[in-house]
Amino acid sequence: MLLFCFYIFNREGVCLHYHEWSRPRAARNESDDRKMMFGLLFSLKAFVSKADPSSNGEEEPTFVSYRTDKYKLHYLENPSGIRFVLLSQPNAGEMREFLKHVYDTCYVEHVVKNPLYSPGEPFKFEQFTQALTKMAKKTHV
């Protein structure tokens, strides 16, 4: 199962991290791509909460993933506002556990606990990338 790329956004829309495994069609402009991705997710979240047909108003429905002809996008948002976005092949299964795992073992361990990291800034840490690629290799054969 092929992974295309991975984004981390914070609550303000800043792209904290971007990792690419393979991307046959490169984005025309990198910063536009990030902004468009954040905008799309923001609007999708609002759309899903409006479109939800269930009548219970207490639980806010969260969107989990979407699939197009050529890719599948998986989404995980933390209560802190940190959003993890993973683009994979369309035949991928549930990647929510994988994203939760990435949060626990890669992000919290190597980014949050890094004393030199100031929250809200884009980062590029060797240890984080290594842990991420190792976990990706373990998950998809």
Binding site: F4, C5, S22, R23, P24, R25, A27, D33, M36, M37, G39, L40, S43, L44, F47, V48, K50, A51, D52, P53, S54, S55, E59, P61, T62, F63, V64, S65, Y66, R67, T68, D69, K70, Y71, L73, L87
Partner: protein
């Protein structure tokens, strides 16, 4: 048991031309539905632009905690959007059937104007029958 919540048909400019709710809880008012349809139209287009691979046509299926949304894009640009309960099978086939009903009872109706709201009793009837037979 499949639970189908609603069907929405969007014309190629993003305007709502048909809306039908099949359960009580899914009811939304028309203005709200028109806004949602336009929003979906734009999100669908953006998702194709963000694709990491070539030749992407847009979102086909969206999963949320409480519902799934299936979207069928006809070659003419008309979108058929179906919301259903999570893990409901056979929605793609149902969308194909609805597309056939659309071409039979809407497009072949000599009084129907393209891109206008659909008001064809035959389409409504056959659609209801089809949904009832699935759920």
């Amino acid at each position: 048991m499949a639970t189908i919540f609603s069907l929405v048909i969007i014309n190629k400019s993003g305007g709502l031309i048909f809306q039908k709710d099949f359960t009580e809880t899914a009811r939304v008012d028309t203005n709200e539905a028109m806004t949602q349809a336009s929003i979906w139209h734009s999100l669908h287009a953006i998702s194709a632009q963000l694709s990491p691979a070539h030749g992407d046509t847009g979102i086909e299926m969206l999963e949320a905690d409480t519902f799934n949304l299936h979207c069928f894009l006809a070659p003419t640009g008309t979108k058929f959007v179906l919301t259903c309960a999570p893990r409901t099978a056979g929605m793609e086939v149902l969308l194909q059937t609805i597309y056939e009903l659309y071409s039979d009872y809407v497009l072949k109706n000599p009084f129907y104007e393209m891109e206008m709201p659909i008001r064809c009793a035959a389409f409504d009837q056959h659609l209801l029958n089809e949904i009832r037979s699935r759920s």
